[in-house]
Amino acid sequence: MAMTITEKILAKAAGLKSVSAGDNVWVQADILMTHDVCGPGTIGIFHREFGRDAKVCDRERIVLTPDHYIFTKDEKCLRNIDACREFAREQQLPYFYDPGTESYSGVCHLTLPQRGHCRPGEVMFGTDSHTCTHGAFGEFATGIGNTDAAFVMGTGRLLIKVPASQKFVIDGVLPRGVMAKDIILRIIGDIGVEGANYQAMEFSGSTINALSMEERMTICNMAIEAGAKNGIIAADAQTLAYVRQRSTKPFSCLESDPDATYAAVHHYQAETLEPVVALPHSPDHKATAAACGDRKIDRAYIGSCTGGKTEDFVAAAQVLDGRQVAVPTFLVPATTEVEADLDRVMVNGRPLNAIFKAAGCLPPAPPSCAACLGGPVDTFGRCNQSEVCISTTNRNFIGRMGSKTAAVILASPMTVAASALTGHITDPREFLK
């Protein structure tokens, strides 16, 4: 029977020959990720349900990555990191990225691939809705709540419904100034914030194949903003090169059958795509950047799992180099590896940090989720008043970056950088001529 890549991965994880959309199956989890915001609750349920002395079913499968509320004085946040630390010690977890130590990494969704926890064909669950990011590696990855996560912690398994898939085929060469973020904001704008509810979003085509792994992650990261259960891109030579550099575990690459069944198939031609933004307060409020030149902004923010990767900073630096920002510009590298890259990766012969400093950006904060989701009031970059912030992050819900009266505009790193230079929404191609 013809299957999609999502169906094939779930069939394999369920020990079945085949599955179809709508089937409820018990699947074996390869990786369970949790962090400081959902970890303590998950651990609490694990102890309550399996016993105070219970052991996790497989230490090798659990990744504990505090990343949300790290650089704060809030006592409860610090206590929650301690709870993660205590659990890692008690369970002797090998993959605990401990804040304040050499092992600290930062944002879970970049830590997972960088530290070798993403492999094609696997099933990953995480207590974070943006776990769908890891579909970029040809695996099934989805966000779950604390109760489900505690169940996986104890049993290694979870009952899930096999999603139907929508296919998005993007062919051609992206124009200069158009990035992966523009592709996914366009798609979400077209299908709406529940356009793929309960479904898989499968991305393919020559444009997708030409994207780097980080750009593929940007696309899969935002599948949840269309309501999807998972986003997925079949593994290719580039995926294998990335994964084999970081993981020695065996894995198997799966791909959709040519005659697999889809709920819908969408085609895009890359040459027709433009820099776009999502206006407040919904990720599907799409408009071209060029059409929004009259919208003023008060600040710019480059960071998060979807927009704080090395390539995001490189893209911003290409626009900012030799120019001056007109509004406060906040930079938050997603992980310690990105933080180090800001000093060692060059654009036009100069390190990224030198370009940002010369452009007048604020000094970069240490890696974490920071103001992407507001967080405690002392969070770097948090919108505490009625600021209008243009941001490389993934959500612009009311109050998302702090105050209910603030407004968030989502855009690519290039568009955010261009807008930082002018103080209003700006198509980055104005600076790339």
Binding site: P40, D74, T131, G375
Partner: protein, 179 residues
């Protein structure tokens, strides 16, 4: 229990998890009873002011038992704090045209809330403060003021999981994990 009755609280489309429980309160851990109560006191505090307060200032419980939403209720984060805070405040069910996937699943897994789908757009017909009765056997919502009966979709097995107390209790009764 087959009937839930009480006051309703009406909201619109795309009520996301940041509106249900703003991220600054995610330092509270739902498995710690005192913090669970605090989460309840902040339930729906991220809503725009025109909706009114689900929980009054200084209170920990809501006077509302049933939440009526539009499309895509609970979109956004996987934070289980969202259904849990509504339950902690005294909410028992959300009746909406559609639900975001993770919120729907978390409502069931925690056994906290009945997420019931309505074919009709009730959020435009009903008003906050109306008294209503949700019948879980017949899958209906009755507006007490007029006696109107609105049919809801049958949540199927999900109802049994919630009634049983959530995923773990259900898994035990099914012999999937040890008692």
């Amino acid at each position: 229990m087959t009937v839930i009755s009480g006051k309703i609280f009406v909201v619109g489309d795309n009520i996301d998890t940041d509106q249900i429980i703003p991220a600054q309160y995610l330092n509270l851990v739902p498995t710690i009873p005192a913090e669970l109560e605090k989460l309840g006191s902040h339930a729906l505090s991220g809503l725009p002011d025109h909706y009114g307060k689900f929980v009054a200032a200084g209170q920990v419980k809501s006077p509302y038992t049933i939440i009526i939403g539009g499309r895509n209720f609970g979109c956004g984060s996987s934070r289980e704090h969202a259904p849990v805070c509504l339950g902690a405040a005294g909410g028992r069910a959300v009746v909406a045209e559609s639900f975001a996937r993770i919120f729907f699943r978390n409502s069931i897994a925690t056994g906290q809330l009945y997420p019931m789908e309505t074919p009709a757009r009730l959020c435009d017909k009903l008003q906050t403060g109306d008294e209503a009765e949700l019948d879980l056997q017949r899958h209906t919502l009755t507006l007490k003021r007029t006696g109107e009966v609105f049919p809801l979709r049958d949540p199927g097995a999900a109802k049994d999981v919630i009634a049983g107390g959530g995923l773990f209790e259900y898994a035990r009764t099914q012999g999937l994990i040890k008692k």
